[in-house]
Symmetry: C2
């Protein structure tokens, strides 16, 4: 029964099509526009097909988020190796993180605001999510001094995350983000 293989391939392709379409729709029109009806219409299948691939809309958002974690980890890793010295790695990674959030706002929302049931910081945490934090940890840890490197990383991660979420929605004055990033870098590297 070699057809079984083709079936599985087609299924996987459609699975990926759903995730990709949901992401595109979210990035262009916002997550509010990502309804099961519009999504099913875009992939040219009926609604129930979505539910044969995912438990529900939340699961679709989660799949998009997981994709985001992979890309974020890759982006941070690339920034790290792209930096010449170790000193340059810190600002490079910080800027890469903030650039990622700014370039993919809907994706970032899926990762940190929308999807509520992703297992963070546990043994069952998916590899991509652990990888992203690991990148930050490796870069920030040398600056921790005598302090716990994990907690240290978490605090500065929180700063970056806070800057991202506050800047979005105009919670912070527009235009001054570069100043804030510069201060964040300086605050973190000084000492």
């Amino acid at each position: 029964m070699p057809n079984q293989n083709r079936r599985e391939r087609e299924r996987a392709a459609r699975h990926e099509l759903i995730v990709r379409t949901a992401r595109e729709l979210a990035e262009t029109e916002g997550w509010d526009a990502v309804t099961t009806r519009r999504l099913s219409q875009r992939i040219e299948y009926s609604q129930p097909v979505l539910y044969s691939h995912f438990a529900g809309k939340d699961a679709i958002v989660g799949a998009v988020a997981l994709q985001g974690f992979t890309e974020l980890a890759d982006a941070l890793a690339a920034a790290r190796v792209g930096a010449g010295t170790t000193d340059e790695a810190v600002p490079a990674v910080i800027r890469a993180y903030l650039a990622f959030a700014e370039t993919n706002p809907a994706l970032y929302d899926a990762m940190f605001t929308l999807s509520t049931d992703l297992p963070f910081a546990q043994d069952t945490t998916p590899a991509p999510m652990q990888a992203g934090f690991a990148q930050l940890h490796d870069v920030f840890a040398p600056l921790a001094g005598e302090r716990d490197t994990g907690v240290f990383t978490e605090v500065w991660w929180a700063t970056m995350h806070g800057l991202v979420t506050l800047a979005r929605g105009g919670r912070l004055p527009a235009g001054a983000q570069e100043q804030r990033v510069a201060m964040l870098v300086e605050q973190l590297t000084a000492r």
Copy 2:
């Protein structure tokens, strides 16, 4: 026509009732449970009454958020004057901020996650919102050194906000929040 006064008083009372009920419902069962039907049922009026007071559900959330900003500003001010020395004011205000977010999670969500159309950081920004930031600014500014006090405050505000939002939803390991707060305080006051 003295009845007009009574009318206006009753209207204001009902306005306040709506906001209070929405907040209670959100705090006990989450914002998902705050539907216009349940809300109207709780205040013992029909749905359209809500729309004679507010433009829509978003406006109700916004009203709750505004209440939150007032209370947050008060809480920060109280922590500030409650602290003995100026040095003690910084950790006191930080802890007050985080305690506020932890005690009123739904309220905090309304302020910083849900309500999207509140005018932050503008001339039209409501007084309570400016007051909250002003409290932080006054406490953090002395630590800024040569740096811009506004940007300095924004960065550390972002750290607090990031810790709040990441801790919520289990993005950060549970139980270690106190460690992170301690490190935040130390990082901010050292130097």
